[in-house]
Symmetry: C7
Subunit: 100 residues, 7 copies
């Protein structure tokens, strides 16, 4: 990821998902139910925030490095260097920050 | 839950649902009808509130520890340590606080 | 209802519906037509009002004790002590106050 | 209607519809076409007006006693004393006032 | 139309449609295509304008007597004195004023 | 077009489409794909602009005489003098001005 | 592209897509999954920004020359000089700027 820098627009966030088998350290285990399941990830780039109707930027709540829970089917997926899978999400698709 | 801290974003709330068989002390019994049924829970984490169009945070009405009624099919479910089931809801999915 | 106090959030209202056979004193009789039919009830708890986009609370028009007409299929139903059926509605689902 | 007073909420209006056979005095005759057809009525109660996003009430344009045209399938219907049929509409469902 | 005065609410307009065979003087001929086709009419009554979110009336752009083009399937149709067909439209359904 | 003047309302624009075979001078050729294809035209009348929620007119970006690209299936089509085909669009359906 | 200048309206952007086979230098490889896939492109024209509800222009975040990721199925496609394929997008369809 050294050569490729992404600067997300508005309230978008680039997240590197953490696969389910790697999720045990955090203690979060996703249930096998019909409900929408969140996924865990690491924030690697953050936009400047959306502009509200009065013309001001709304500051972002997440920052680079945050571990986050997000809705599993949110966002747009792409790959870097064949192997690394990333997601671009809106901040509103992020449910919570996992504090460490 | 000691090692895992969740900081919900915006107007989101983490709730630990109270199973129906445990709901008798509160006196609330859910009818077997076709209507949408609320569920009871305990608030364990609260976001900072959504930002309104004039750029100010709307304060949250619920706080950690509140017993709440919420719409049964609202929110995103996940598990902690295989057993503990939690939900992340928007505050607008919470119908009422049960005072004790 | 003595031991169970509900504090509705935002512009929500807790209403105890009045069954149709009890509705004759008010003179309101619901027609057997295909149209949406209102139902009569008594307000037993009222939220603090929703917060508008300028950050101020919009005061509620209904108060505890009001007899109200509301859309029959609105809201979320639950029971207290096996017998008492209550509804949580948004104030916007209440059509009119019946003055006595 | 003497014993039953209805106080509509927000921008709602209680209207007593005028049946089609009684509509000849006004000169309005509804065509038998596929289009949405308005219906004539008399306003018998008026709400205080909706609260706009800046927290102010928007004054109502109709008043008690106005003869009005409204969209035929709008609103919620109910009966008073078995015979009298009334409708609760939003003011936005009223198309025009018929001046006399 | 002498005895019947209609006062449209908000941003509504009463229009008397001009039949297609009478439309040649204006030079507008409607094509037989699948696209939405406008219809020509004469404005005979105009509402006071809608109230915007800051509580002010938005002045109407059309006035009584204007010849207008409007979307053919917009609005609510009714008849006066068996023969005269009128439409109540929102001003936003009017596409243009035909200057004479 | 000398005798017929159209004054579009709000943010509407009257455009005379330029047929595809005439589009070669501009160098724009529309691909035969499944995507939505823009069409080229000449602006012949421009409305005064929409009124925003604070009651002010938003000035129009296009002016009479502009060559424009617009979404092919936008707007309402009509004919003048049997032959001339015109379109009434909202300015938001115009994608770009083609500078000459 | 020398003779054809496009001035996009509002918050629209003209983008020249970069074909997938040319995308290897950036290191971004699109996965063969069911998810929405972003596409890479170069910005060649930028609108002046949308006007917000308080009547002010919201400045654009992208500028001519930026390499961008955008949602693959967004926007309107057209061709210039038979060969060059361009897209007109809203800035909100652009996910991120790729820094070089």
């Amino acid at each position: 990821m050294a050569e490729l820098k992404l600067r997300p627009l508005a309230d978008r966030v680039v997240v590197e998902p953490i696969e389910r088998e790697e999720m045990t350290p955090s203690g979060i285990i996703l249930p096998e139910t019909a409900k929408e399941r969140p996924q865990e990830g690491r924030v690697i780039a953050v936009g400047p925030g959306r502009v509200d109707e009065s013309g001001k930027r709304v500051p972002m709540e997440v920052k680079v490095g945050d571990r986050v829970l997000f809705a599993k089917y949110a966002g747009t997926e792409f790959k870097v260097d064949t192997t690394k899978k990333l997601l671009i999400l809106k901040e509103s698709d992020i449910l919570a920050i996992i504090e460490e």
